[in-house]
């Protein structure tokens, strides 16, 4: 049995180490955080840096191999080619439209789940909102493809009103993305509304405010940061998506599609295109930070 016990010298080392760590909380923290921080810095920021650097390289036109010759041609092409500008604007437009639609739909839904529904139903409703996230992304998008197809569910439901579905294209893309990312918008708003003290609403009513005024002057200012937080998800997810638009977008192309079509033959161009959503999202986050939304993420 004695052989299983650490030797006296070993015990002494362990104890010394433990003592050192105990006395120096900063060292403890550094050791704890090194691994995850390295992961963040190397794998995440590092690959972003490589992406950015490789955007300045070129390719050999015959073998398509990356040639490490410094050039700004790709960024020049990015800013001067009309089709790139058009696609970037279209992608940002889609992301903004999806975000606005999600916010519009999510607010009443979250208000119901957080304040109107009976308390014991609330967790179930939240689960219900989360359920679509358990289904495969592709299954959901293909379902929308069937809904929006010619003579599909959308056409059939709108036929009595003399209308027809949007068909495949930009509106279909916005609609499908809105459906996909809606839960990411509902959840933060639901949380914010749930935490809203009932006393504030009562006070507002006691002071003579009608529901509309209460909403504008009390609820909205307190919940807005959560809307902004949700919009970070809906905006960035929409900006990066390239599969939905392939399935229901008809002939529409977004930034992601351009990256995809360049990745095999012109990696540097794909990298240059790939920095666009990164830049847009950084700008968006900076704008959002001013609302204080990042604190409630």
């Amino acid at each position: 049995m004695t052989t299983d016990l650490p030797t006296a010298a070993g015990r002494g080392t362990v104890r010394r180490l433990a003592g050192t760590l105990h006395r120096r909380p900063r060292l403890r923290l550094a050791l704890l955080l090194t691994a995850p921080l390295l992961w963040l810095a190397v794998l995440y920021l590092g690959s972003l840096a490589v992406l950015f650097v490789s955007a300045f390289w070129t390719t050999d036109s015959f073998t398509s191999q990356v040639v490490k010759v410094w050039s700004t041609d790709n960024f020049h092409a990015l800013f001067t080619t009309p089709v790139f500008r058009q696609v970037v604007l279209r992608s940002v437009g889609v992301a903004l439209a999806v975000t606005a639609l999600c916010a519009l739909i999510a607010f009443p839904v979250a208000f119901y789940t957080a304040r109107v529904a009976r308390p014991r139903w609330r967790p179930l409703l939240v689960v219900g909102i989360l359920t679509p996230l358990w289904a495969s992304y592709l299954v959901k998008v293909y379902a929308w493809r069937l809904i929006l197809s010619e003579g599909g569910l959308a056409d059939w439901m709108l036929a009595p009103f003399g209308l027809s579905g949007p068909g495949y294209g930009l509106p279909a893309t916005v609609l499908t993305l809105t459906y996909l990312w809606l839960p990411y918008m509902i959840l933060p708003i639901h949380t914010a509304l749930e935490q809203l003290p009932a006393g504030l609403l009562d006070a507002s009513a006691d002071l003579g405010a009608r529901p509309g005024r209460t909403f504008r002057s009390v609820v909205l200012p307190m919940v807005l940061p959560s809307v902004a937080a949700g919009s970070v998800f809906t905006f960035s997810l929409s900006l990066g998506d390239y599969i939905t638009v392939q399935i229901v977008g008809g002939k529409t192309q977004l930034i992601g599609n351009l990256v995809y079509s360049n990745i095999e033959l012109n990696l540097p161009m794909a990298a240059a295109l790939g920095t666009v959503p990164v830049a847009v999202i950084v700008l968006y986050l900076l704008a959002i930070r001013r609302t204080g939304a990042l604190n409630s993420l």
């Binding site: 015959f62 089709v83 033959l265």
Partner: protein, 399 residues
């Protein structure tokens, strides 16, 4: 049972071909003088003992050992007979294939036209002594000595299979039945919003093929060798077509569903997709229009640095042996390369449907090739538009 087989075939077809199509594919038929001067490599004159293993790079669905589907297995028998253990790596694109072959760790590759030309040019692929591949004699003559698998009469591989890009239309909605690609180009406005086209830069060649027949003034000889003027004309035609396109397809499921629902009524397709759509109840027909058509063809090549050349030769012979070639062609959904494979297919009609033995049919097909600056049709007074420019133009066509 037929349906499940077709489904499976299409699934693999989609997985591999789509990727294949994105940037690759096969050489144009026999007319080229590419001016390629590959390094002078020697093919072996006789085979030695097998080395016990072989490393392959292949498209998905070409090297099946039963791990994807227990019933689809032509590797296990090969291993038993030759004692060569097979290690295969599925490549997602021609570029990846070229990269992998450059490492020198692989013995053989199922290369498509553009990859094969690059491998030959860079000296990564060795000429093949076809006398050491007994089954080569049964390969359809139309696949031998093609511009994409041989240089100056020297074969650089063993042909695997081929397929054509067809014009598919909805028989109920497209009347009269089209016989020309004009249905998707000059007359496309009749089906505005319901025209479909293959989503790849290589589709520009389809427009060039149509212009070759309809605009003789442009003097297009080879749809993969376009000078700036010819190229601009093809791009302009595709931009006009874009106004009438409902959607571009790159996914076989997408095209099948679009034809079933009527969102697409006319456009390019592959035989497997036409079969699948018809079996699912869509009223469609597919044909090679009078202008001819584009298509693809793959070749098994041996690395110049192969460490297991004897096993590689055994594999080349095995994959084009009648029974195995029939299996892989049916699984993948393409016409087999071996003429005797047609007697071995489980669906006795398979070779008829895929026109395997119909050389007059393949004469009309311009096999995919990668456009390079040196015009593939032999012109030396102009520079042709390279594929990288095709990729850019394709982005602009879609807008």
């Amino acid at each position: 049972m037929r349906l499940t087989r077709t489904l499976r075939a299409s699934a693999v077809c989609a997985a591999a071909l789509l990727l294949a199509a994105a940037c690759d594919s096969s050489g144009s038929g026999g007319t080229s003088a590419t001016g390629l001067n590959p390094p002078d490599l020697k093919a072996p004159t006789k085979l030695g003992r097998t080395e016990g293993q072989v490393n392959l790079v292949a498209w998905a669905g070409y090297v099946e050992d039963g791990s994807n589907d227990p019933k689809v297995d032509w590797v296990t028998d090969f291993e038993k007979r030759t004692g060569c253990q097979v290690h295969s790596k599925v490549a997602a694109s021609s570029d990846e294939m070229v990269k992998l072959m450059k490492t020198g760790e692989y013995d053989a590759v199922s290369a498509s036209g553009d990859a094969s030309l690059r491998l030959i040019a860079s000296g990564d692929a060795a000429p093949v002594n076809t006398a050491l591949v007994p089954n080569y004699k049964d390969v359809f003559s139309g696949l031998k000595n093609g511009a994409w698998n041989s240089v100056k009469g020297k074969m650089y591989g063993i042909p695997h299979g081929r397929g054509a890009n067809l014009l598919m239309y909805d028989t109920a909605k497209v009347k009269p039945a089209p016989t020309s690609w004009s249905a998707v180009f000059d007359d496309a406005s009749r089906y505005k919003g319901h025209v479909t086209a293959y989503d790849s830069p290589i589709y520009i060649a389809d427009a060039a093929l149509y212009l070759k027949a309809t605009k003789p003034g442009l003097k297009i000889k080879d749809p993969y060798a376009l000078d700036q003027k010819q190229f601009d004309a093809a791009v302009a035609l595709l931009k006009r077509q874009n106004a009438n396109v409902g959607e571009y397809w790159s996914d076989y499921l997408k095209e099948v569903s679009a034809f079933k629902s009527g969102d697409s009524v006319v456009g390019t397709t592959w035989q497997v997709i036409a079969n699948l759509a018809a079996s699912e109840g869509a009223k469609v027909k597919a044909l090679v229009p009078k202008e001819g058509s584009t298509g693809w063809s793959d070749t098994w090549m041996v690395s110049a640095k192969a460490k297991h050349p004897n096993c590689a030769y055994k594999w080349l012979d095995w994959i084009v042996s009648p029974k195995v070639n029939a299996q892989v062609a049916e699984y993948f959904g393409e016409a087999p390369a071996n003429s005797k494979a047609c007697a071995e297919t489980s669906d006795k009609n398979f070779c008829t449907v895929y026109h395997a033995a119909d050389e007059s049919y393949w004469k009309k097909i311009a096999f995919w090739n990668t456009p390079i600056e040196q015009c593939l049709d032999g012109r030396t007074d102009v520079r042709c538009v390279p594929y990288a420019k095709w990729v850019q133009a394709w982005t602009e066509i879609k807008g």
